[in-house]
């Protein structure tokens, strides 16, 4: 059997690599070690051949493959799939790893559908078990982890997206490979079916939470816009900014510029108090850089407790007023 090829798809915008691109290459190197395969990095874009050549001189990969075409100048799922699907059919990689980003997850299932590949998104870890790769990913709002495997009979490539932080970019092995162009003829006749009209900020006013020292964040567990008083009182006592997880924003309990997580702001305060937040991955990616995380939740199995330093299990409407009083007392 030929050596398995493991591909790492890089994400770039205007020639700048997305921060998860290096993590994806590191993940591909680790996967290649497990399956005894070789690693290729793949870069899509317009005018990116020099970047591909630079990267080929830095990383321990076989090749940095690049699809360079005007139709790839700005990301659209149709053009990206049209570039990648023929390349996968031609080169037959066994594994194609993507960074788990809003961009990759939007288009990679389209590629998988076109090449008859398996789809495994949001991978947190992987290992070799009984001669096959077993992928672990969160399910049921992060309350449980699922182990999945691609059937031996499936035959096609496995396309998987790797969660941020699953494999640290620090583990990326340096070395060198060669840059090589992928054919882009399929794109010559590609007719765009999705036009980009512009990019705008999601929030109306910008509140910059990234500089806050202390954040008190509200989750679904708060229970309503009229019940935010306990959050406000604790934030005032601590001199903290108020943030929130997505359901709070979607329900209109707080404005969108308070949202923390993958579609909101990324924060790294010294103290983060998560109240009534269960800890879905979309929220965790936005706040796990906090130096000290406190979780208050009535569900002792909430995933937030796994990354918190301190926790109180209980009803936040009882715990927060007690905490506010204790803070005030301590501060005199």
């Amino acid at each position: 059997m030929a050596t398995a090829k493991v591909w790492a798809i890089l994400q770039q915008r205007d020639g700048e690599l997305h921060r998860q691109s290096r993590e994806t290459v590191a993940a591909a190197q680790e996967l290649a070690t497990l399956v005894g395969g070789t690693v290729d990095a793949v870069l899509l874009g317009s005018g990116i051949a020099p970047l591909a050549a630079t990267l080929a001189g830095q990383w321990a990969v076989e090749r940095v493959l690049h699809a360079d075409h005007a139709a790839l100048a700005t990301y659209t799922p149709g053009a990206y799939a049209t570039a990648l699907a023929p390349a996968i059919r031609e080169e037959a990689p066994a594994y194609v790893l993507f960074p788990h980003t809003y961009q990759s997850v939007e288009y990679f299932p389209r590629v998988a559908q076109q090449v008859g590949g398996a789809i495994v998104s949001a991978v947190g870890s992987f290992r070799l078990a009984d001669g096959a790769i077993q992928w672990t990913r969160p399910v049921l709002g992060g309350k449980l982890q699922a182990d999945v495997r691609v059937k031996a009979t499936s035959g096609g490539a496995t396309l998987a997206s790797i969660q941020p932080g699953a494999v640290s970019a620090d583990r990326l092995r340096a070395g060198s490979g060669v840059a090589a162009a992928l054919p882009t003829t399929a794109l010559d006749s590609w007719k765009p079916d999705r036009e980009i009209l512009g990019v705008e900020s999601a929030a109306k006013e910008e509140v910059d939470l990234s500089k806050a020292d202390i954040i008190v964040a509200a989750g679904r567990g708060v229970g309503g816009a009229d019940k935010m008083g306990v959050i406000q009182a604790l934030a005032e006592a601590l001199g903290a900014e108020i943030g929130a997880s997505r359901p709070v924003i979607d329900n209109g309990w707080l404005p969108r510029d308070r949202q923390i997580g993958s579609s909101g702001q990324t924060v790294a305060p010294k103290l983060y108090v998560a109240a009534g937040i269960s800890g879905a991955i979309q929220h965790l990616v936005g706040m796990k850089g906090a130096s000290c995380i406190v979780a208050i939740n009535k569900d002792p199995n909430a995933p937030i407790f796994a990354i918190a330093r301190y926790g109180i299990v209980g009803d936040l409407h009882e715990v927060l007023p007690a905490l506010t009083a204790a803070v005030k007392e301590a501060k005199g």
């Binding site: 398996a118 980009i196 999601a202």
Partner: protein, 264 residues
């Protein structure tokens, strides 16, 4: 205009989940099931558009007999009729086999626009709607936070979420698949009149044969990915839980924050 809305019935993730003794999945017997959250928003988007354009909504689901309850709710909210891929062969698929089955069902109803949620709250692959779009050969957008039909009705304007709080404004030509995010609109509640009317609306059950599909190409048999089991997340060290009544726990926490973590 005929609008398809694809929904999934999922366990209520707010309820207490217990892993089955054999570890393969969760105990479903006493579990409350609900319409997947982002699919509720997809339903609202589809029904509101049908009202505005004088069109109709056909709602689709893949799921066992219990999923008819989700379809009935969609009918009460304003969908005209429902297609239920209830056959045992369709069940326990992956994003690929479920997306392909839905594509065949949608194509059979000659819909020109599909709304669905961006991700299910149970398996959360976030991929089924995209497979559906690809199988139909239609463009799509994922994580949609704004939608409007453009004049002439042959294209739509879409607001797609990007990372870091940015949105991308797009024009997409129809037919298309629009995968919405929770929060795009304010889903309505079913009215008593709607609930009564839903009782007379048809739910059509279809099997693989009706869609021209081989039973071995759909559901679990047609899936490339198999679920081996579920388990609790390994606590990464885990939180130090401060015990006692709220006042005691709060005092202990403030003490830790001041003297151990030194953050206040």
């Amino acid at each position: 205009m005929r609008i398809a809305v694809c929904i999934k019935q999922v366990p209520d993730t707010e309820s207490r989940l217990r892993v089955r003794a054999d570890g393969t999945w969760i105990e479903e017997d006493d579990l409350p099931f609900v319409i997947n959250e982002s699919d509720e928003y997809a339903l609202e988007e589809g029904i509101a558009l049908a009202e505005k354009t004088g069109g109709e909504v056909v709602v689709f689901t893949v799921g066992p007999a219990r999923a008819a309850e989700a379809l009935r709710k969609a009918l009460a909210l304003g969908a005209a009729r429902a297609v239920h891929l209830a056959d045992a062969a369709f069940q326990r698929g992956d994003a690929s086999s479920t997306g392909a089955a839905l594509a065949a069902a949608v194509a059979r109803e000659e819909c020109s626009l599909v709304f669905t949620g961006s991700s299910s709250d149970d398996l959360s692959y976030g991929a089924t709607g995209t497979v559906l779009a690809s199988a139909l050969g239609w463009p799509h957008a994922w994580l949609v936070m704004g939608f409007s039909l453009e004049e002439g009705g042959t294209s739509c304007r879409v607001v797609r979420e990007m990372e870091s709080g940015k949105n991308e404004l797009l024009r997409i030509h129809l037919p298309a698949v629009i995968e919405v995010q929770a929060g795009i609109n304010h889903p309505r509640y079913a009215s008593l009149k709607g609930i009564m009317a839903a009782k007379k609306k048809p739910i059509v059950e279809v099997g693989p044969g009706d869609l021209g599909l081989d039973p071995s190409a759909v559901g679990a048999a047609g899936a490339a990915v198999e679920l081996l089991g579920v388990h609790a997340p390994s606590a990464g060290g885990g939180a130090q839980i401060l015990p006692g009544d709220p006042a005691t726990a709060a005092k202990a926490l403030v003490d830790k924050l001041r003297n151990e973590a030194r953050v206040i």
